[in-house]
Symmetry: C2
Subunit: 430 residues, 2 copies
Amino acid sequence: MTNPENNNKEYINDKFQRSALQVAEAQARLKPYAALLTHEEVPLTCSSGRYLAQPVYAPHPFPAFDRSSMDGFAVIAADTSAAGELNTVWLEVVEVIPCGAVASREITRGTAARIMTGAQVPGGADTVIMLEATESRIEDGVTYVGIRRPLEAGKHITPCGLELSTGDPVLPEGKLIGAGDIAVLAALGVPDVPVRRRPKVAVFATGSELLEVDEPLAPGKIRNSNSPMLEALIREAGGEPVRLGAIMDDLELARSRVQMALESYDLVLTTGGVSVGDYDIMGDLVREQTGDMLFNKIAMRPGSVTTAAVRGGTLLLALSGNPGACFVGFQLFARPVIGWMQGAAQPFLPEWTARLGAEYKRVDRFTRFVRARLEIREGVLYAYPAAVDESSVTVTIKDSDCLIIIPPDSGQLSAGDKVTVLKLPGEIRG
Amino acid sequence: MTNPENNNKEYINDKFQRSALQVAEAQARLKPYAALLTHEEVPLTCSSGRYLAQPVYAPHPFPAFDRSSMDGFAVIAADTSAAGELNTVWLEVVEVIPCGAVASREITRGTAARIMTGAQVPGGADTVIMLEATESRIEDGVTYVGIRRPLEAGKHITPCGLELSTGDPVLPEGKLIGAGDIAVLAALGVPDVPVRRRPKVAVFATGSELLEVDEPLAPGKIRNSNSPMLEALIREAGGEPVRLGAIMDDLELARSRVQMALESYDLVLTTGGVSVGDYDIMGDLVREQTGDMLFNKIAMRPGSVTTAAVRGGTLLLALSGNPGACFVGFQLFARPVIGWMQGAAQPFLPEWTARLGAEYKRVDRFTRFVRARLEIREGVLYAYPAAVDESSVTVTIKDSDCLIIIPPDSGQLSAGDKVTVLKLPGEIRG
């Protein structure tokens, strides 16, 4: 008869000898291996959602010339000093300046130019009077503009360089490019934008229980929802997902497929196979060569089993197979890695303070990242924890726009208590 | 000698006979012409950012079976009622059930099955005990599991249908599909997702002052920044931009090009040429056939000249040429149109209450939409108006994440005052 005590040890004992890291420490261990990718230039119209690889400085003043902000007449302010209700000053209109044209002559005392909104103010003129505030007459084929009040210099002129002087910093390196940035880059004449290459991120799922999304349900099986979710999350983070299918419970085959992926892609993500169990193949794989393991346990729920290793300089990030834990693990670890590779100025989820919308009673020895829904009411931000936030739950992921951070020592929390939340990408629906 | 009074009338008089509409009324006039586009099916992995064309109901319970949430043993709770520290109950382990497998037999009194996380709980068993809480021994080739405490039924089992029962509503029609939705659609076996076709949106710029982004600056000219900005905004709203270049100041040519675009695309946007001025070609174009003009003046700043007409059932939306006004006009009018065409559940920008971060003194007879930057501090949302928010200003667009709505009667506002803001798409940086 065997000794049940001894025999049980291999079950009870965590075969990975795991020691739990704090989240920030785990993120810090990943950073050295999230090397900045190379530059590439993309056409301006394809640059949305990319990260700028170089700071942009103004190559010229912007606006580049004194610009009329009104339809009216460009005049010399001093010419109007005697104007009044009873004393119309008449100036000879010597030119019409449409938008995009340049005056053929300077404005001199006693003359004016008809000028359109956006046109360059002619030399000599120092102010613009609105069309609606003038009269006009034509005499012997010559047009005169009549002005009945004195004008200050500089009215209705947007001066050269109002927005930017030459050399002003415009966009910092690492900025995520959006529509407003594209407008500025266009205005400053940047047809091709230096951005970081998008990281190619391989995705493996593990487990012989997995069905593809187009397969009919079968007893005991579940459809693989993590791989398509991760593809969408990788795209959202700026990466290019490459789906490499499912790894079955064959350690040899898994080793060679993961090895090939590590040699071919910038980052390899796996889901599943990291818990303590007989078929936890990713755990076995990582355990084989402990020299390059970065961590295999994090003081967090869900996703405490999240594991990371480096092989040949490339990161292997093994996320939990539980959909909720896989999602949280991606947001906390894969997302910053994909951001760092692109030089993102803000690789982490934004951290905000919010008020708890409802009580939260669950306590844990690890930090909890609770899926939650944000609402803004009367200028105050409320976070409502999902009713069910088990790591295995899939449905609440879609209804969450933030993760509430519940530290281990926070005790039971009441509605109205202040909490820290991590804002998830996308719009707040509340 | 001509009468200057008479002669001036054509300048002073607004040639469009404009009467200013409120923003909501202008939006309502657009809606009947923003017809819902047809369905199409896209592969699940391409569905991110699309709008669901049909509601999704659960085709089966989810999870689809009683699932073990632990590595351990599936047992009958009643078998453990006599267990205690001094009375180990030993059950015969009759089977090992990996994830994805189905038990070959029922659990009967006195027996147990070794079961992995995620595996289907075998018939007969009604509870799962964690591996770590058990002992084991092997006797005559038979494995026994030892249990030292009584178990309740239902422990560590995620019951069939916990998240969804058959027929439960999962995703509503008009939902913008994100990573969390993709996870649910995958789990429920939806490989092809019914979405609305993306609207094809043509973009014209008007004005002979415009240079392309790759052209060197020339006196009096500016680079066309509105067209690339609009392309990015159209994509952000879910549309497919089609850039049709610049329209020069030739009414005949403009008419035929706009007409062709109206016949070929779902929506036509133009920028510029809508102000009162000699070369305001879009105004002239729209004025030609006033029967189908929806509006040509809105009680808003910037962008009061925003103009809309319908030709052959297709909307022509003429935005201001001023970059700031073009941006605001897009967000308030083009964005909901592009959303309605896709059946978006939330076509408008989200409306929040915030506190003003700094005073705002400018008053106007029209509602102002002031570009601003949001910050969340201690759970409170603050909106900081841009220092310069002239309609012609380009640079502040990139730094804005909301528009503060300043009604005409609001008077001078102080820091801390409550204001309504429209959240712009994208992440809050503050």
